[in-house]
Amino acid sequence: MAMQDLIIEYIKDEYLEEDDEVGLDTPLISSGIVDSFSMVSLKTFLENKYGISIPDEKAAPEAFDTVRKIIDLVHEFNPDAE
């Protein structure tokens, strides 16, 4: 599964209720869908899935605000991740 689909699937499963939808540019944290306190499981998921370690200074809520930004963040630490 492509990274985009995988991340969207994780977010839907982890944070959303059944009928909620999320796209590439849906605001997640600034819209209140994901609160910054709960964001840690997303960070752990990305780290385990893509073999990266995201330092705290890079793990600001803004960096996780959309699926597009999350993909950019993963690529910053693993340019080959797909």
């Binding site: 944070y15 819209s31 209140g32 609160d35 306190f37 709960s38 840690v40 499981s41 752990t44």
Partner: protein, 415 residues
């Protein structure tokens, strides 16, 4: 560095931003003791007016109870005003230990330690008992003080969807490699008034070898047939490893909180919890009054029984008027309005009608979940409830939301 004009303007801009975002909190000056009938100056500078209070955590109506006030006077006379010390130097009186023992007996735990507030109890407890080898798994709607306490603790943290037991179970399975697991939840959630499924949580804790921690601040004194709290209501007395709760709500409403639970966990809080070690003891006057509160609620369930009846009456009245209510079995009764401005406008109009309530909206509650939260007290008499129902009905009709579904209200006012 001097407090330069640049520094000043930085903070002025931040404050302006808070105001522009509609998040500026204003205090309302109360010119009377806490109770149902209060005198409120709002806006500041206006003549204080008589209103009915429906937004206090004064669940048992003990904040200004004559017996509690008398006990406070006696405590002041017998044990003085302040202790000028933390607990472990020279800040523990006989009445502090007496209160801890009464709380232990009431909550049916092994031991209790007092803190200056439940915020302090939550801020200090996790760090005192968990290490980086452990994991804390919290309901996503736990109180902010629990979140802060978890952030201060080196243990890993994770969260589960609000009251979603399948999700909790999945998280417990994921974290089986940690040394210890602790499930963390509020007993009653303050914004929705719903209760944690502590029976299921305790069963999952047994199955996956986890401890259970509950912040029962919105439950102690009145939830459960004897008012012991959510653990009594759910039939899990003796199965909760750590309960934090407050003296600042139903139990007299002054200040103070505690950790009550397994003897070793409580002892670790005495030895290691920084808010216990580095902040002043709870004042003797508060402790003396709280001891009386414990005597009152142990002797009779009259007040919590009345609260339960009044809550039913209040919910039934609002429902028959046509308001959209959150499901709850507690004295926290949220009236759903979904739109932030509507919640604020209605709260303002209700104040003009002599009913003091507050509108809550994002970020205090999720976006599109704005509401007016009403809270019932054992001090509310039927005539108070009837007068408030009349005011609510009048204002509900003004905004044309009576009998309307969520979709209707959202269509009319937006999210």
């Amino acid at each position: 560095m001097a407090y330069s004009e640049k520094v000043r303007s930085t903070y002025k801009e931040l404050i302006d931003g808070i105001r522009n975002d509609g998040l500026f909190k204003e205090e309302r000056y109360i010119h009377s003791e806490q109770g149902v009938e209060i005198k409120v100056e709002f806006p500041a500078g206006s003549k204080p007016r008589d209103v009915l209070n429906f937004c206090a955590n004064n669940y048992l109506g003990l904040s200004s109870h004559p017996e509690v006030i008398k006990a406070a006077h006696e405590g002041l006379d017998m044990r003085g005003y302040g202790m000028s010390s933390v607990r472990f130097i020279c800040g523990t009186q006989d009445i502090h230990r007496e209160l801890e023992e009464k709380l232990t007996a009431f909550l049916e735990t092994e031991d209790t330690v007092l803190f200056a507030s439940c915020m302090d109890a939550n801020a200090g407890m996790f760090e005192a008992i968990l290490t980086a080898e452990d994991v804390m798994i919290a309901d996503r709607l736990v109180h902010a003080s629990v979140v802060d306490g978890m952030r201060l603790c080196p243990a890993k943290h994770d969260t589960f969807k609000h009251s979603n037991m399948e999700h909790l179970e999945k998280k417990l399975q994921e974290h089986q490699d940690a040394r210890y697991r602790m499930i963390i939840t509020d007993g009653v959630f303050s914004m929705d008034g719903d209760m944690a499924k502590l029976d299921v949580i305790c069963d999952l804790a047994d199955k996956y070898d986890a401890m259970v921690m509950v912040d029962d601040s919105h439950a102690t004194g009145f939830i459960g047939k004897q008012g012991k709290g959510t653990h009594e209501h759910c039939g899990v007395l003796g199965r909760i490893d750590a309960i934090t709760t407050t003296l600042g709500k139903a139990l007299g409403g002054a200040s103070g909180g505690c950790v009550s639970g397994r003897a070793e966990l409580v002892e670790m809080c005495r030895q290691r919890a920084r808010p216990y070690l580095f902040s002043n003891t709870v004042a003797p006057v508060v402790v003396a009054a709280a001891n009386k509160v414990m005597d009152i609620i142990t002797a009779t369930t009259e007040r919590r029984d009345k609260l339960e009846e009044s809550t039913k009456y209040w919910r039934a009245g609002l429902e028959s008027a046509g308001f959209d209510l959150k499901e709850s079995q507690t004295p926290i009764v949220p009236i759903m309005l979904y739109n932030a401005k509507l919640a604020q406008d209605m709260a303002r109009d209700l104040f003009d009608e002599g009913v003091y309530v507050i509108g809550f909206f994002f970020p205090v509650v999720a976006k599109g979940q704005a509401r007016i939260r009403t809270q019932i007290s054992a001090a509310h008499e039927k005539e108070h409830l009837d007068k408030a129902l009349e005011a609510f009905t009048k204002i509900g009709a003004k905004y044309d939301i009576l009998g309307k579904s969520k979709d209707d209200i959202v269509a009319k006012y937006g999210l």
